[in-house]
């Protein structure tokens, strides 16, 4: 197991959001977290990166990471594409990407990765010297994914990458995510409202309801589950 979460509780002040979540993730696999608004999906991702107060156990590559700082967790190889994209608006596209590789010391590899990322997203190369705040929503989403890739992560946490994107763009982005997963062997933990797209991409999925895992299984199985179909796929 690359990531193992057990008995995870989290709260924002007095508001408790997660009530003991358990799940795991194999190296190189894609896992989706599904659920309604407010179920605790984003909080789960934030909990892994120590951005909320947590109780429970989180292991990454066998090592406990709960209680460590956000910076240290990033340095272990967990790249978080946050809710709202987290763009450095006043910096250029390329500066955003260079920040993604801030912790890496090998300049040659970083330069090669920059070109590789531009290969996945040629639009970003065209806009490399442009202020990131002037990019469109779709381009900023590509930038967020690319910035995470620049960390050369073992695990990417993707928080609603489809949010606010046109359907065609969503399809394109998911194709690229699939390609990245296949080529770079990066594991992905994907939080999505768009359950159909997420289940197509993922190997496994967990359905989260009010801070608990309601259902878990292979993505194909969940797609056939009647409850999931009615509630999240709409047919």
């Amino acid at each position: 197991m690359l990531l193992e979460v057990s008995g995870l509780h989290a709260a924002y002040g007095a508001t408790r959001v997660l009530h003991g979540i358990d799940f795991g993730l194999e190296p190189g696999s894609i896992t989706a977290l599904l659920g309604a608004n407010g179920a605790g999906k984003t909080t789960t991702l934030r909990a892994i990166c120590a951005m909320v107060e947590v109780r429970g156990e989180i292991r990454f590559g066998g090592e406990r990471i709960d209680g460590r700082s956000t910076e240290d967790i990033a340095r272990l190889g967990i790249a978080h594409v946050p809710d709202g994209r987290g763009t450095f608006l006043n910096l250029t596209t390329e500066e955003n990407l260079r920040l993604g590789a801030y912790t890496r010391k090998d300049r040659v590899a970083v330069a090669a990765d920059l070109e590789r990322v531009y290969g996945y997203f040629p639009r970003l190369k065209e806009r490399r010297a442009q202020q990131a705040g002037t990019l469109s929503g779709g381009e900023q989403q590509m930038l967020a994914v690319s910035r995470a890739l620049m960390l050369a992560p073992k695990l990417m946490l993707l928080d609603e990458p489809s949010f606010g994107l046109a359907p065609l763009l969503v399809r394109e982005l998911f194709e690229i995510l699939r390609a990245i997963n296949a080529r770079e062997r990066v594991a992905m933990l994907l939080v999505e409202q768009n359950a159909a797209m997420a289940l197509d991409l993922a190997d496994r999925a967990y359905l989260i309801e009010t801070g608990r895992v309601a259902l878990a299984g292979a993505a194909d199985e969940l797609k056939r589950d009647d409850g999931v179909r009615h509630a999240y796929l709409g047919y």
């Binding site: 951005m51 956000t70 987290g86 450095f88 608006l89 801030y102």
Partner: protein, 290 residues
């Protein structure tokens, strides 16, 4: 005409000093969104350290560099020890801490060095150089030193990974943590740099205004005016503002309102900018959805 040219050039010399201090203010503002009222006293205190070093027999330039280094470390210490604990405190709380810092530094300097005015050496020759008679060598040198500091800072923030990380940390702390930047240290480093820049400003202005614990009061006011004029969140604006305030203060003081009312220029500028163009000439206008 000659007199005017002289006043303008002399204004550029003091303006460079205001620009440095204004830049220090902007750097802290970027990181904390607050104006550091103690910036001037920090500069004053480090200038006394330089005075001690020089009086102990150290040649000027080594003393200068050592002072800049001490100021840098002092700035980091102040951030770690005094500012960090009030990181999440309400604005007024932090302002009170800044004012407390101001009073403490002022009193400690007075206690150690007394309030008697001391002269501070200039590294530049007393007679005019390069055949320029409008400016003393010190004024010319101060402009040169200021410009060198500004160029170094620009290169640091623009071209080094650490400078980029510091800009990122000030702008978007959460995203910065997610890429592994130690945001707390970046803020401390910002304080260190601001203190170092302030130290240079203090050492450059001390030969002109003489060394005493209250020497930076008026200068900090001009630096405020400069930072506001350029836009409190714009480093380039603060620098231009500094030069503009220096020239304005000198020319108005010499020809219009007289030297006694010079400091009023700064106050009028501050109030004027806040009334007419609160974001300054190069600042960002923030729009908030409510």
């Amino acid at each position: 005409m000659d007199a005017l040219l002289h006043q303008v050039l002399a204004g550029l010399a003091t303006g460079g000093i205001y620009a440095s201090l204004a830049l220090a203010l902007v750097m802290i503002y970027h990181a904390t969104h607050l104006v550091n009222f103690a910036q001037g006293e920090m500069a004053m205190f480090t200038t006394y350290i330089a005075w001690s070093l020089i009086n102990a027999g150290m040649p000027y330039w080594p003393a200068f560099l050592l002072t800049v280094g001490i100021a840098f470390i002092l700035g980091i210490f102040i951030e770690r020890i005094v500012i960090r604990p009030v990181e999440n405190a309400p604005v007024l709380g932090v302002v009170v801490v800044f004012i407390g810092l101001l009073v403490i530094l002022n009193s400690v300097a007075g206690w150690i060095y007394t309030y008697t005015i001391k002269s501070f050496p200039s590294p530049f020759p007393p007679q005019p150089v390069l055949g320029i008679h409008y400016l003393s060598a010190h004024e010319l040198g101060a402009i040169g030193v200021t410009l060198a500091v500004l160029a170094l800072l620009y290169a640091f923030f623009r071209f080094t990974p650490l400078g980029l990380a510091m800009r990122a940390a000030a702008q978007n702390p959460e995203s910065s943590r997610l890429v592994g930047i130690r945001v707390g240290w970046m803020l401390a480093l910002g304080w260190g740099l601001a203190a170092a820049v302030g130290a240079v400003a203090g050492m450059m202005v001390a030969p002109i205004v003489y060394l005493d614990p209250n020497m930076m009061g008026g200068i900090l006011l001009y630096a405020f005016a400069a930072a506001l004029l350029g836009g409190i969140d714009s480093p380039g604006g603060a620098v231009l503002g500094g030069f503009a305030v220096g020239v304005l203060e000198n020319v108005l003081g010499a020809f219009v309102i007289g030297n006694e009312l010079k400091l009023a220029v700064a106050l009028v500028l501050i109030v004027g900018v806040l009334l007419v163009k609160p974001s300054g000439f190069f600042g960002r206008v923030y729009v908030t959805r409510v």
